[in-house]
Structure formats: C-alpha cells, structure tokens
C-alpha cells in the first residue's frame, strides 16, 4: 500500500500556536523535514491547514480542516477530517488508518522542523496577558530565561493538558524536549485563578472531540462546576468531587488529551486551595473578578407586585410565582442573564453578592 504523510498544522494547543508560526517563518525547514520523512517511508505529502489560513510560498497539496483539535496528530482523526467529518482519534494496537487507499501517518511542523534541524532546539509559546510570543529556545534553558516571572502569581506549563506551578517552582525549572514545554502561560497577581480555570475549562470543552464519554461529559461538567464557583452556586463538596472524578478521568479517558485535560484545574485547586475555598464558601473573589460581574439577582419582596412580567422574560424558567404572589428566583436555575431586570417595570429586581432575607414559600404580595 502507498503511504500518506500528513503535516498537520491543526493540532496545536490553544496556548501553543506553534505550527502556523513555523509554517510562516520556517517554511523551508518544515518542508525539508517533511520531504525527508516522506522519502524515508515512501509517502505522498498533504499539508493540513485550518480553513482560512494561508501559507505564502507553500508548494504541494494543501487540505483544510474546519477546526483545530488536539486529536489531529492521530492518523485516524486526520483521515476523518480529510473525509469531511469531525476529528475523532483511533488508538488501537496495529491499527493502520487508510485514506484514499494510502496508509496515513502524521507529523506536526515542529517535528518536521526537528527532522531537518535536530531536536537540540525547540519552540516555546510564552503567553502573558493577551500576548503570545513564540521563541526558539535551546533545550536545557531555564524557564526564567524564556519567560519573565516577575509579578507572576502562577505559571501554567503545558496549556490545556498542563499543570499550574508556583513561580518559585517555575524558576527552578529547565525547559526540556517534552511536549508540555511548548506552552508556558504566566498569570499575574491580579488574575483570579478560579476565573482563569473557567476559561481553561471552556477551552477544554471546546477542544474535546466528543468521542469519549469521560472527556466530553467531564469537560462539560467541570466547566459548569467551576463556573458555579464564580457565581456562588458551587457546593463545598465540589472540591472533592472534582478531585475524585479527575483521578478516574486521568486513568480512564480514551486519549492523551482526555487523560490530561483535568490537570490545569486540579493543580490550580491544590496550589490555590484557599482562593477556591474563598469562592465557594465565602463567595468572595479577592481579585474582584467573579462576584462583581456575576452578582446574584433577587426580587425585592417589599416591592414586587406579582405581575408575572419577569416570569415571562426568564429564559431559564428560574422565576417562580403567580398573580398576586411575590415572585422568587431559583438561584440554582438562574444564569444571571439579567433579562428579568429589563422586564420589571417596578425596578424591584436587584443584585447582591449576599442575598437578603427572602420568602422561602409562596407569599401574597404585601404579606412578607
């Protein structure tokens, strides 16, 4: 059977956009490396780019994926994308993926670059605030030489699959050739770590290919639970729940992404246990990021006239009540969208980080 070598530029972690950087800046090296590899295994080459991406000067067959995915370094997932489907990996003994009657193998531009130039140097994406800078670094370089740790609160090494470490630990870390050092993210003192985890779990949910239950539903659960930690809905038991479920996902998920995607959250919870605790139990955010934006809505029982307008406006059906009775917001269902505020002519829907005394059962207007 003929072989097909796919140079996949769509498997990057969101925190390590290295592939396209190499395609745009070191195209000759990538192409040379890919050609060398293709010659070795007697393969045709396809470059797989993200739809809309362009590489100046790239000569050769180019195909496009609709999305990036951490699974797109897996031959089966790549073949699915080439066939117009969503990526899903296949991890199986001796399994050969066939596409277009060719046996598929996959390399990333970074590997192709390494095949050409050796692996003594590597590329590292350094994220800080909104900025991402990609650096070529010699293996063995101290992390502190690559990224500034001044004023850092936490360092995430390895993107969505990585772990948080303290700046102290980061400063004594040397960059090696492993995958995790493709991404170093620095979080400053002003960053809320819980809110950061919300963003990371949202990204993980987006990145999950959906094939495996543990990753698909795990990312979905984690992003909801962590979000609830920033809105006051989370429970004290959620910390242990996440730890226990994470351990099982790490063992039981199908692919490397699924097995690792819980790490940013669990490592953050370990290092910043107190900050998580403040969010969940005291419902406070020292960085002022969380509760300010997502205060709890309540209906002032002294002002509500029981008209029902807010009930109609609520897309979550989170407001209970009937004509002439004080309406009540079910905090478990409320998504803090604020639509009820606009619907209320009386202006009696208010926000607070700590709820005042409110009726617990149906109460007639004026009787509270």
């Amino acid at each position: 059977m003929k072989n097909l070598l796919v140079v996949s530029c769509v498997s990057d972690d969101v925190k390590a956009p290295i592939s396209m950087y190499l395609m745009n800046n070191y195209l000759e090296d990538v192409v040379a490396g890919a050609n060398k590899q293709a010659k070795e295994i007697d393969a045709d080459i396809i470059y797989l780019l993200l739809e809309g991406d362009k590489v100046e000067g790239l000569d050769g067959e180019v195909r496009y994926a609709k999305t990036t995915s951490p699974t797109l370094n897996n031959p089966y997932a790549v073949a699915q994308v080439l066939s117009g489907n969503l990526p899903r990996p296949m991890i199986q003994d001796d399994y050969v993926t066939v596409y277009d009657d060719k046996a598929v193998s996959v390399i990333t531009p970074e590997v192709a670059y390494g095949i050409k130039n050796g692996f003594e140097e590597r590329f590292v994406a350094v994220n800080s605030g909104d900025k991402t800078e990609i650096k070529r670094v010699a293996v063995g370089t101290a992390l502190s030489e690559v990224a500034s740790l001044d004023d850092a609160k936490a360092v995430l090494i390895g993107g969505l699959k990585g772990s948080f470490v303290t700046p102290e630990e980061a400063s004594s870390t040397k960059i090696d050739a492993t995958e995790k050092f493709s991404s170093i993210s620095i979080y400053g003192q002003d960053q809320c770590i819980v809110e950061t985890c919300v963003q990371l779990m949202n990204e993980a949910y987006k990145a999950s290919c959906g094939k495996c239950v543990l990753c698909r539903e795990g990312t979905s659960q984690f992003r909801q639970i962590v979000t609830e930690m920033t809105t006051g809905k989370a429970k004290a038991t959620d910390v242990d729940l996440i730890k226990e479920v994470s351990e099982l996902i790490t063992v039981g998920a199908y692919c490397p992404f699924g097995q690792s995607m819980t790490r940013p959250l669990t490592s953050a919870m370990e290092i910043f246990a107190e900050e998580f605790n403040d969010h969940i139990k005291k419902k406070t955010c020292k960085c002022g990021k969380c509760y300010k934006a997502a205060a709890l809505y309540y209906i002032d029982p002294d002002e509500c006239i029981g008209c029902g307008d807010c009930i109609d406006a609520c897309p979550e059906e989170a407001i209970e009540g009937k004509d002439g009775f004080i309406h009540m917001i079910d905090q478990d269902l409320c998504e803090q969208c604020g639509k009820c505020v606009g619907a209320c002519d009386e202006g009696c829907i208010k926000t607070a980080t700590k709820l005042p005394k409110l009726p617990k059962k149906r109460t007639k207007v004026g009787k509270f």
Binding site: L86, R88, M90, Q92, D93, V213, I225, K235, Y254
Partner: protein
C-alpha cells in the same frame, strides 16, 4: 488460525489471536459491560465501559480495541476499572432523561440494562438535560436526540457498514450532537435501510410507529421484512427483487417458485399483500412487486428443475378433490414427497378459479396451462370431469389420505325481491359460463352488486360481452372497496360506473323481465357480528335501469352434508393442522376460509401438505432451495436516485382496444422498467443481517448454558 492463551478473571482461555479481549471474554461467558461496541462495527472505544485491568500495564485498557496476546492476565472486576465504568454511566445519565418508564424503548434499552449492571455511584454531578427536540419529518424513522448518549453506532453503521454517511457528528453551540448530514434525510442520501435504528442502544432513533408490526409472535426476520411477512406464502421478496436488479431473472423466478408453484400466474393476478406492507408505502408508494414477479417469471428458463427435490415413492396414495390453486399445489408437493396423487376435478379443465373465475384478459390461459403442465410433469394425475360427491366415500376407495380443495364455486344470492328472475345471475355462474365458452346472455344495461375484485371481473366481462352501460354498486365507500385500486381505476377508464355507499332494496321487473335495481344511499357503514350496519340516507332512493343483474357478493363451496365432512356456514371445518372432522381427510383453500386469494390457497395447501406427509409417515419438509445463493452486500452506497425514482406503472392496452375482447390488457413490465423498479427496493432484508442487540442477561444465560 493461531490461538493464544490468556487468563480472564482467573479463568484460562484459549482464543483466536484475531479476537479482542472483549470478544474473548464474551465468548467465554464473562460479561464486560460495553455500549459503543457493536459486533458489526469497527471497535470504537468511546464509552469507556469495557475498560479492564491488565497485569503489568498501568491504569486500565480498552478491552474492545485491545487484541488478545499470549500470557495476558486480565481482571474485568478490577476496582479502578469498575469505578471508571460507574463514572462513565453517571456522566451519560447527566444528559440522558432519567425517567425510563415513558420511553418507547423501555425494557429494550441497552443503556438502561448496562446502568442496572454497573450501578450508580450517586455523585453530585450536574444535570445537563438536552432540549426536547423531536424530528418527525422523516417518513420512516423518528429522531428524539435528547436521548442520545453519543455512542456513535448510528453514524458508524451508516458510514462504515452502509457506505452512505447520512448521519454525522456536529458540534452545535459547543455540544456534540448526531445530526442528519443535510437538510433532510433524503438530501443526506439516506437509503432508509434502518441500520441506524437497529444499532441505536437507546430510544433516540426509532422506527416510526406503524412501519413495522409490533407483534412479539413474529420472528425478527418477518418483522423487519414486511413484504415477505405480508405474503401468505412468505416468498423471499427482497431476494428475488435483488436478482431482478442484477438481471438474473431465472434466479428470481426460482426464488418465487421455492414457495409457490405458479410464479407467472401470480405475477398476473396476485392480490399482492406484499405491496401493501412494503416499507416504501411510507415514502412515495410501494414497489410494484407483482409486476416484477411477472416479468421475472416470464424469463424462467427452468434451471431450477435440477435443484428441485423428488423423493422416492412411498407407496401411499392421496386423492385431491378440486384442481384449483390449492389442489394443484398440494398435488405437486405430495407427489414430490413420493406419494401417488390423483386430483379429481369436476370441470373440464384444471385451474379452478384461475380458469373459471378470473377472466382471461387478466390471466392468459396459455400461462396457466404452462404452469399446470409443470405440475403434471412431476407425475400428478389430474382427472377432469370427475365430480366427487363424498370425500369419505372417495377415501374408502383405497386412498391413504384425501385433500379437499373444492374452492367456492357457488355464488351468494341476497334475499332481494326478484332475485330468481331470468336475467339475474350469480358471479360464479356468470364467469364460469364465459370460460366454458357458453357465456350467459347480457342485455344493454348491466348492474353488478358488489365492490370486490370479482365484481369488477363480472362488470368488465359484461362489457366485453357487449353490454352498453355497466354499473357496479356496493355498500362500501370509494376508499373502502375491497377491489384493488388499480382494478377500480381501469374499470372506470373503461366506462364502468361505480356507485358507492348504496344498499340494495329490490330488483325491479315488468312482466317477469328485469328492469332495474333500486338502491338507497347509506352512511356510517360498519361490519358488526351480524353483518353490515349503516344508516339509510333519506330521499336517496334511486333505480338503476338494468336488464341483467349480477350478484357478486361472495361465494361459498358447492358442497353439502352429503360430502361427509363437518361444515360451518357452508365451509369445511378444519383444525389448525388442516384436519377435517374425518381422519385422514385434510382441507385448505377457499373451501375452508371462504373466498380469499390464489396465494393464500397456495400457502395453506403447502401447510396442509406438510401435515398430510407427517400423517403418512414422512417428515413434512417441503422446503427447497431452487435459486442460487445470494450474497448480500451491506454497503449500499449513496444512491441519489433511490428516493427520486418513483413507482413504475405497467404498460396497458388502450381502452378502446381492450374493452371489447378477452385479450390480456395489462402488459406488465419490459426489461428496463423491471430493472428500474427493482432498483427502488429499500432492501429491508439487509437489516436482518445486523447482529441483534444483546443484554447482559443474555450473556449470563449463555454462561449458565456452558457450565
């Protein structure tokens, strides 16, 4: 094939090296929960239920996608593996409705069965119910994807197994979903094979109610292949249609002949219950199965004969009374079983209603003659002009068994004033006379009473005998007539007036001559235990002028007590085994059931033959494989024409050319129409090949069986 030795849960197992750990375990009665795995699909590994512990390997392994290896030691009940399974189950139920009782799949759901086995850990995970969206646009399948747990079996079945790809995964608002690969299933290239339904473990993708019979007494094959089930003889319809599609017409004819000895005659006149059941009724109209049969049978080259069984003579003698479809079928198989057969026929020629009831413009006599000749060719003796007055007396003449198939050759007469006047005929007499070449005279104005196919035969025959104005009138409304739609259409084209929803009041006469039929309009027709019930519409009484009136309101056997058998309302009484009141005398066909159809008579005769053979000491087996083996290709591929090709109608003789003679008028299909029509088949039989879903209790029973 090489084998390897491994240990699963302490049990030493020898397994073929090509097997996975899951397969090896299941084969040996060790159940490992699994959901996204399906026997006919490539291993997937997504559900995480089949994880097990392998000695010397960190974490857990996926047993559905790990091959067995020499010396492997597997523990399926490992604590971590069980915890992972429970978590997976927990997570699936966070999006799946928790209430099972309201689900149509309740009791047949693999997910529910697995969760029972795996158990619930009671974790405080969040409910993330999916919106209750149903998609009922599809004529055959129902999508209720809020029950979907994304095992992906439907998507894989549609692409891997069928090569169609009408279903796909898509992320909608971030959440993975199984969706139709287009705006509608037709647009997505759906071939309506039902593989997605067959593999769905939950109630997410289901057959619409009414597409298949929900009868637990039916086998899986009969349930899933409605045309074969609908055929009284259970002819393998998809098989012969596939032969036609491949251009192998003799093989198609042989397939029909496996279950019925009159393939071509059936091709002309069968009531085609198969078409009424055809799944394509729910799409754009059924396959024209009868015309396909007719075309194939016309191309029969007799190659089936070398495969037909013929048993050694048993020395037993069987008499058959009546050479209609039931009698000829019985004679044919009894002779093949080695019994000596004599058929006694009252009329001058064999064929029964096929010759003396059904007019020759519907069934050309040379076709019938040819097929009867095949029956005689195996050595069946047919004695015509032999009226048997008593079955018991005949048996006493030295027959080991007698088969009664006298049919229903006497017409029913309604108790109407004037019903015995000259010019008033009975259906059976009228049609028989034509086929005896002694037609009864008809006047200019003919009124036929009745709304079935026989009534149409009478009306059309009257027209062909020279009647100028023919009216058919019946109790039933236009959409409730028992005559086939096609026949009614042709009758109307020929100028026959159909007067529906009328009750017959009286036959009018003057000076002993029929002058008309008075009828009154009715509504609310129901058939209760005492016959029809309806309300007469006031002021709706009219008289249709007539000089000939034909009763076509049913027929009954032309026998009485003298025949020696117990009768009920004129019909022969039989047991489920087709035994009559007399030992060694069996009966089937219209004489037992009342007027039904040729194919029903054939099917019942075949059953009766088995019983008679057993009575005579045989094994009762009359099954034979006359057609070549057929390899079914499960990969249908995306045939975009499938839904766009609509039912082919047969070539029909022009109205003016057909209504004045008894020449065949329905010319059936030519080769290209037959091929085109055959290509419309949805191949329901492919679904039967998919491994049925199993539950853990099935495996545990197997385990019990092995111990």
């Amino acid at each position: 094939m090489a084998t390897v030795n491994l240990t699963i849960d302490g049990k030493s197992i020898v397994a073929d090296e090509s097997k996975t750990v899951l397969e090896a375990a299941l084969d040996n009665g060790i159940y490992i929960p699994h959901l996204c795995h399906h026997n006919d699909l490539h291993p997937n590994g997504g559900c995480r239920l089949c994880v097990v512990k392998q000695d010397g390997v960190d974490g857990v392994i996926t047993s559905c996608s790990t091959k067995v290896k020499e010396g492997m030691v597997i523990n399926t009940k490992d604590e971590t593996a069980e915890k992972v399974r429970k978590l997976s189950c927990d997570l699936m139920f966070k999006t799946h409705p928790s209430e099972c009782v309201g689900c149509p799949k309740y009791g047949k759901c693999q997910l529910a069965s697995i969760s029972q086995y795996v158990g619930d850990s009671g974790r405080d995970l969040r409910q993330q119910k999916l919106p209750l969206i149903e998609n009922e646009e599809n004529p055959l399948m129902l999508h209720e994807m809020y029950r979907c747990i994304l095992c992906g079996r439907c998507v894989r079945a549609c692409s891997e197994l069928r090569g169609v790809g009408a279903l796909k995964f898509e992320k909608i608002d971030g959440r993975m979903k199984v969706v139709i690969n287009g705006n509608s299933l037709e647009e997505a290239g759906c071939q309506f094979c039902g593989a997605c339904v067959e593999v769905c473990p939950t109630g997410s993708i289901r057959d619409k109610v009414g597409v298949f019979k929900d009868d637990p007494g039916l086998s899986r094959e009969m349930t899933l292949v409605p045309c074969s089930e609908g055929c009284p003889a259970h002819i393998n319809v998809p098989k012969y249609i596939r032969f036609i599609k491949e251009g192998n017409f003799p093989a198609a004819a042989a397939t029909v002949r496996e279950k019925a000895p009159f393939p071509e005659s059936l091709g002309y006149i069968c009531v085609h219950s198969c078409e009424l059941q055809c799944k394509r009724n729910h799409l754009d109209g059924p396959l024209s199965i009868r015309n396909l049969k007719r075309f194939a049978a016309s191309q029969d080259d007799g190659s089936w004969k070398e495969k037909a069984f013929m048993k050694a003579a048993t020395g037993k003698k069987v008499a058959v009374i009546g050479a209609g479809p039931a009698g000829l079928t019985a004679g044919y198989y009894l002779k093949k079983l080695g019994h000596e057969v004599t058929i006694f026929e009252k009329l001058p020629k064999a064929g029964g209603q096929m010759r003396y009831g059904i007019p020759s413009y519907r069934l050309p006599r040379e076709v019938l003659d040819r097929e009867i000749a095949e029956i005689e060719a195996v050595g069946v003796e047919i004695k015509c002009n032999s009226d048997v007055k008593s079955a018991t007396e005949l048996k006493a003449q030295g027959y080991d068994a007698v088969f009664v198939s006298v049919g229903t050759h006497a017409g029913n007469k309604l108790p109407l004033e004037g019903n015995d006047l000259p010019g008033v005929y009975l259906n059976a007499d009228f049609l028989r006379a034509i086929n005896l070449d002694e037609p009864l005279p008809v006047g200019d104005n003919v009124v036929v009473l009745g709304g079935g196919n026989v009534a149409i035969d009478c009306a059309e025959s009257a027209l062909r005998l020279g009647a100028k104005h023919v009216v058919m009138t019946c109790l039933e409304a236009a959409d409730k007539m028992t005559a086939s739609e096609e026949e009614v259409t042709w009758a109307k084209e020929d100028g026959i007036v159909v007067e529906n929803s009328r009750t017959f009041d009286a036959i009018e006469s003057e000076n002993g001559k029929v002058t008309g039929l008075t009828v009154t309009g009715i509504e609310g027709l129901k058939f209760g235990p005492k016959g029809p019930e309806f309300t007469r519409i006031p002021d709706s009484t009219v008289t249709f002028p007539a000089d000939t009136i034909i009763f076509a309101v049913g027929q009954h056997p032309d026998i009485d007590e003298e025949f020696g058998l117990e009768l009920n309302r004129g019909r022969v009484v039989t047991s489920d085994e087709h035994k009559t009141s007399e030992d060694g005398i069996y009966a089937a066909g219209d004489a037992v059931t009342g007027t039904r159809s040729v194919i029903a008579a054939i099917a019942e005769a075949r059953e009766a033959v088995s019983e008679i053979d057993k009575y005579l000491g045989g094994d009762g087996n009359i099954e034979e494989s006359l057609a070549p083996e057929q390899t079914l290709n499960p990969c249908i591929g995306k045939n975009e024409d499938l839904t766009k090709t609509h039912r082919n109608e047969p070539n029909v003789t022009d109205i003016e050319a057909r209504k004045c003679n008894f020449e065949p008028m329905d010319l059936g299909f030519d080769c290209s129409k037959a091929g085109c029509e055959a290509s419309r088949c949805l191949q329901c039989d492919l679904r039967v090949q998919i491994s049925p879903q199993k539950f853990w209790s099935d495996y545990i029973e197997e385990e019990g069986g092995q111990q």
